[in-house]
Structure formats: C-alpha cells, structure tokens
Assembly symmetry: C2
Homo-oligomer: 313 residues x 2
C-alpha cells in the first residue's frame, strides 16, 4: 500500500483487526460508539490526559514510546485511585509529514502498553494534519471492591509513603518508559487502609499539595526521607538533587497516606504484608497545618522556589 492511499479508514480497520474480542467490551472499534459492560464493583473510574509534541514528548521521541506514554499516564491515574484499567479511547492527530509508518508506531506503542496492562482499546478517532502530533487518551478502569481512593481522605497523624525514587524523569527519559503502579496499588489496597493516594505527575510538592487541599490537612516531609533518583543526582543545573526529586514531576510513582498502625505493619513486616520486591519509602507525616512543608535534619523548614509544574500563560 502506497503512503498516498493510506487513509483514516485503513488505519482504523487495521487497528480493529489487531484487537481480540473481550467480554468487558461487547462492542469495540467500528461503530458510532463502543458498548461497555458494567465493571466489577459497579462503578467506573475515568481518567483523561492529552500528550502534546514539544511538551510531553519531543520531535525526537521514538513514536512507539509516544503511544506507550499516552496510555501509561492514564493508567497511573487509575492506579492512583486504587483501580485497575479496563478500556481506552484514543484520539490522535498524526502529522502528515511524518508519514504512516510513524503513525503506526504510535499505535503499536499504545497496543504495547494496553497488552501489558490487559486494557482493551475500545474506540477513538484518528486524524491526519500538518500540525504537531497530539495523542489524547480517556481510560476507564474498575474499582477494587467498589471503593476508589481519593486525594481527600488523609487524616492528621497519617504517615506518607511513596513507591519509588523521584526526580530527573524528563532528563533521563524515564517519563517515556515508567511502569504505572497498578500492581502496587492493588497490593496496597489489599494490605492496608489507604486514606488518600495520588500519582506523582507534577512533582511531589505540588501533588501532595493537592492531597492537603482536598483533605484539609498539612503534610511535613522529612528531607532525608525523600528517595532521590540517580537521574536527579546527575542534574548539573545548580538545583539540588532534593529539589529535583521534590519538583521535577513525571515520576508516576504513587504517594499515599495511611495511619500509624498500618505504617508500622509495613515497616515491621514488609514481606508478609506486601510483595517483598515492592519499593516503599516513608517520606513524612500528615499534620493539622495547611500545605506541604519540607524539614531538614535540623528540623527547620526548607524553602523551594518552585511548587511544581503547571501550564502558565
């Protein structure tokens, strides 16, 4: 097939053939809308994120990793609610100049991650234009036992944990290949009473700030407890490794709040409560204050210029 005759319907038809039947999606790609069966627990979780060339990936990013990341960031959001992903809807603007093989690589990357996490690509919209590449995914997930863990349940005295080292994700390329923490969320949900959870996408300070706001609490982070990724230590921009770990974003680890009794069980009996290979770092405590404070070894608050990353005019 020549590239000039490669159009939208060809691509959709090929995508459709590659997707096996799944009882969770009685009707998938190919009609005006998909039909989804009720999930376990009766309720759907829904997350939606858009990736833009030049912001969330670059012109040099391998297209397969663009597709992978486009679903993965949403899987991370579903994990942050302690849910499991089920069905993805993908809308894409492909760049005409890059040609159909580039577009297909994006779809292969979407399919890679979908297969890995048992997700059905159930619908979407494929466009070709002269503008930059845009991939938007809406992901539906099921709750575990009907309960979603929000940002709003942290309680004073709770201990705060994260599931992995932070910082340097964009610089190291890990933002393209991170494993969304679904298994970790499921294991945690079974082992402890998760009061609040969020995925670290904008930076730990910013994201825990959302937990503070929604829960009406403060959080004190202990600087020495914050796990720092090697990529953050390698930064040469004059900002400290700790600052990178706290503010870089795109880590896609989970941060969560549990009470002291559950925290003690995790500290004392990791292997029996949670999978032994699972990384967990205790980073701080929920307080009666407001907002996130970071304290050094001397107990004094540290100051950071950047509370995380937000799109600004």
């Amino acid at each position: 097939m020549s590239s000039s005759s490669f159009g939208e319907f060809d691509l959709i038809a090929r995508l459709r053939r590659g997707i096996p039947p799944d009882p969770r999606v009685p009707l998938g790609i190919g009609d005006d809308a998909a039909v989804l069966s009720a999930p376990a627990g009766g309720r759907w979780l829904v997350a939606a994120d858009m990736l833009l060339e030049g912001r969330h990936f670059t012109a040099d990013t391998p297209p397969r990793l663009i597709g992978r990341k486009a679903i993965a960031v949403n899987v991370s959001d579903i994990a942050a609610m302690a849910g499991k992903p089920v069905a993805a809807f993908v809308t894409v603007a492909h760049n005409r100049g890059r040609g159909p093989e580039f577009a297909e690589e994006i779809h292969r990357g979407l399919a890679d991650l979908a297969r890995e996490y048992d997700i059905v690509i159930a619908g979407g919209d494929t466009n070709v234009w002269d503008g930059p590449v845009v991939v938007s995914v809406t992901l539906l997930g099921e709750t575990i036992a009907g309960r979603a863990v929000t940002r709003g349940g942290a309680k004073v005295g709770d201990r705060v944990f994260v599931t992995g080292p932070l910082g340097g994700s964009l610089a190291s390329g890990r933002h393209l290949s991170f494993p969304p923490r679904v298994a970790e969320a499921v294991a945690l949900h079974a082992a402890v009473d998760l009061h609040a959870m969020i995925d670290v996408s904008d930076g730990l300070l910013s994201d825990l700030g959302h937990v503070c706001e929604e829960s009406g609490v403060g959080i004190v982070l202990v600087a020495d407890g914050v796990p720092i990724n090697d990529a953050a230590r390698a930064a040469t921009d004059g900002r400290s490794a700790l600052e990178h770990a706290l503010t870089d974003g795109e880590d896609f680890e989970l941060a969560f709040c549990i009470d002291e009794a559950d925290a003690a069980r995790i500290r004392d009996a990791r292997g029996s409560v949670l999978p032994a290979e699972m990384e967990l770092f205790e980073v701080g405590e929920v307080t009666a204050g407001r907002g996130v404070t970071v304290v050094g070894a001397d107990g004094r608050a540290l100051e950071f210029s950047n509370g995380g990353w937000a799109h600004q005019w």
Copy 2:
C-alpha cells in the same frame, strides 16, 4: 487576575466550581480520575472525537462554538446508538497567543452544550501551548432499556430514513450549531424497531456505506427522495446540490433502517407515532447487494466521484 498569572489550576478550579453535584457522577473534576455510577440499563456507550483547528474549525471560528461543537459531535454519536449522553471528559490544548479569554470561551461553549443536553463535564486535562487549538471529548452515554442500536442490523427490505436535509453544513456554518438528534433518537427507539442507525458525519454515501459493510447488505437511494439543504443548493462550485447533499458531511442528522411495517406506520400516522414536529425523509431501501447505489428518476444508477470524506495522507 492578570493573564500572566492565569494557569492550568486556576482554569480547572473555575471549571469545577461551575459544575453542580450530580448523582450520576459521585466524584467529578479534581482527583486523579472521576468516579461514575452504573448507568440506567447497566451498559455505557462511549464515543470519542477530536477537533483540530484548520480541519474541524478555522482560526476565525468563535471559540464558544468550538467548544459547543466538540461535545455536540460526540452527542450525535451517542444519539446514533439510540442512547442519551451522561458524562463528558474534555482534553484541550489551548493556544497561548490567543490568551485566557479565548480559552474560557471554549469552555463556556462546552458548558453550553452540556447544560442543554444534561451532560456532566466530569474530568479532563487542560494544556496551553504555542500550537493550534485542539479539543478532544470522550462522552459516556446510557443505553435506553439496555439496548444499543448499531450499524450492523440492517435487513434486506428495510426502508432507510434521515432526520433532516443534508449538504452545505461546512459552507453555511451549520456544522458549528447543529442540534444533535438525541430527542429524535429516543422517540424513534420508543416508536419503532430500529434495525441500524448512524449519524451523517462523513456524508450520507460514506456513512450508509458503513451500514452496508457492517450489516452485509446494499442500499439503494432514490435521488429524488434525498432531502437537500438550502446551503447545498446555494453552492457555486459546479457540483450539483444532490452531490453536496450526498457527500458533504458534517450534517449530524441520523440515518436509520426500519422494516416496511414500521415505515408504513411512520408514513401513515406520523403525529400519533412520533412528535409531529419531527422531520423524517424516506431516502431508500436495503437490498441484497453490496454498497450504496443512487438511482435517478429513470431508475438508472448515478455516479459520484467522491464517496465521502476521509483523512488522507
């Protein structure tokens, strides 16, 4: 608030405040994912469409109508399954140069249509970049009595109808302000046994071609029966009004197939079976052939160069 301090979180916070609580969405904007209750009928319908500047609207399109259209095209898809829309997830790339007021107008347009069709805007992702404006909507809808009407149920002998005149939608601007045919779909679903239905987005020939393909049938359209919009008659590009009506696309009327007994009930007793003000045009018949054929008054097949509109490399 100065435009330079207007960022993503401000916009999300404002969007969130404007949305009243709704029992269908226990948790809306503001967490990692939304939580949706099971819909009436147990099954969700899900449609997703992306609108691109320069393709689905122009640089001159009033931003409020961009937002309106972005939801409306998806509402039309849900209507085409004989469903009712419930919850929308909106991912947007705003153009920095246009400024925050332009962005807010897009969101007002989204809210306009959502209010009009009783849709909850339940989540999404707001970005600002230097690229063209992109708005992607994933819309969840509920089935009526648990049954979705697909493209795949047309039977030989069925009669084919459309809900309004076709053609000239892009030229006349109707593609920005069309009313998605939800009430019509609901009324039809209650009054007759809808075998197959589709919304006319790519052009009647192209869209009925999908019905033929999915149903394994042919359709013969009677040229004189195709309702032609005034905007199609006004075209001065040398193509006939009929050709515009058959191939222009973006009409967002419904086309559906019902058996002859139901067709007779509609023809003979419109006011008692369906709302009297509802427009319906009988355009053709389902046959044992393959693909869509258009016949003139003399019974001979007409030829058209353009089978509808698809994105091409």
